[in-house]
Subunit: 197 residues, 2 copies
Amino acid sequence: MQIKRRFIVVGHRAHTVGDFNSKDLCGGAGRWDVLVRCVNSSFFLSHALRKDTELMVVALGPTDAPKTVRFCGPELKHLNPDEWTTGALVKKALDVPVGERERPSTEGIFVSKRGLSEVLGSLEGPVVYLHEHGDEVDTALGELEAPINFVLGDDKGLEEEEEALLKDAVKVSLGPEVLHSDHCIVLVHNVLDRLGF
Amino acid sequence: MQIKRRFIVVGHRAHTVGDFNSKDLCGGAGRWDVLVRCVNSSFFLSHALRKDTELMVVALGPTDAPKTVRFCGPELKHLNPDEWTTGALVKKALDVPVGERERPSTEGIFVSKRGLSEVLGSLEGPVVYLHEHGDEVDTALGELEAPINFVLGDDKGLEEEEEALLKDAVKVSLGPEVLHSDHCIVLVHNVLDRLGF
C-alpha cells in the first residue's frame, strides 16, 4: 500500500545508540517515551494498524547523532500498543551498525544516519509544520494531496535552525492548546479520516 | 476548579485488586494498559494537566468487581505520562479496603465499589455515548452545557446491558474509523477546546 500520511518527529535528546533499558525510556533514553507514544498514535486503529502511514523519528541525542528510525506502515507487523515492547524494538534498531544508507532492523523498522535536513530533502509531497500559530487544520489539509508530510517537535518543540529548514512548509494549527506530539498525531489522523483522505 | 469534562471508561476485564505487576498491565492486569493510556489522554497538555477534567474507570475484572477508580483533575498532582508509574498508582488504589462509599488513595485518586449503573446514577449534566453510529461530534457537543459526561468502552466496546443503561444518552461519533479509547479522549478534548468550552 502507498504511503499517504507521513509524520516526522524530532527527538532532540533521544539516544542514538541502544544504551538504555527499554523500561526506562523517559530518564535513561532521553525521552524516547514521548517518541514511542508517537509510534502508538501513528499506527493504531482499534483492531488494525494504519497501513498508509509512515513515521520517521529523527533522534539527535547521545552518542551517535543524528539517526533516523523509520517505521513503515505497509511493512510493520508485530507492533504492540504498550511503550516498552516498542522501546525494545527501538533499542534494537539503534544497535544496527549503519551509515547514511538506510538499513533494516526488525520488520518494518529501518535506521539510517540522517538528520532533519537529509530527511526533509528526501520527501515527496507537501510538508506541513504543526504549530500553534498556523492555519486552521480542516481547511488547510483539505487543499493538499497525498502524500502529506507532517513535521512535529518533541516535548520541547523545534529549534530556530530547524524551523529555518521549514520556511516553505504550510503552518497548520490543531487548536488553541499546546499538546503532546502523540496527541497531535491522533488529531491529524482524525481530520484526514473525516476528509476521506 | 469546576469539572467541565468527565470521561467514564468501562474496563471489562480490568483487575479490581492490585494483584498484578505494574509493568505488566496488558497481560497480568486485564488490559489496565488501555485504561492507563486513558489517564494520559484525559489529563495531559504539553506542559500542564487539565484541571477541569475527571476520569472514572469502572473496573469489572477479578477478583472484587465492581470497582470505580476516579481521577480528579483539580486534585491530581504527581502524574507522569508513562504507563507504569500510573499503573503503580492504580495498583495502590485497588489495594485500599473499600465499600460503596468512596475512599481516597493517593492525591486526586479515589476508589469505591461502584459499577456503571451507580456511577451513571451519580452524574450531573448530559451523558454522551461515544459510538461509531452517532451524530457528528462538533454539532452535537456545541449544543450541550457543562459538565458533559462521555462514556466509552475499553478495547471490546460496551455490552448490551451496559448500552441499555445509556438509552437516553446522546450518541456521538468521532469519525469513520474505530479508535482506541485514549485516542477518542484526545479527539473529544480537541473539539471542546476549539468550541471554547
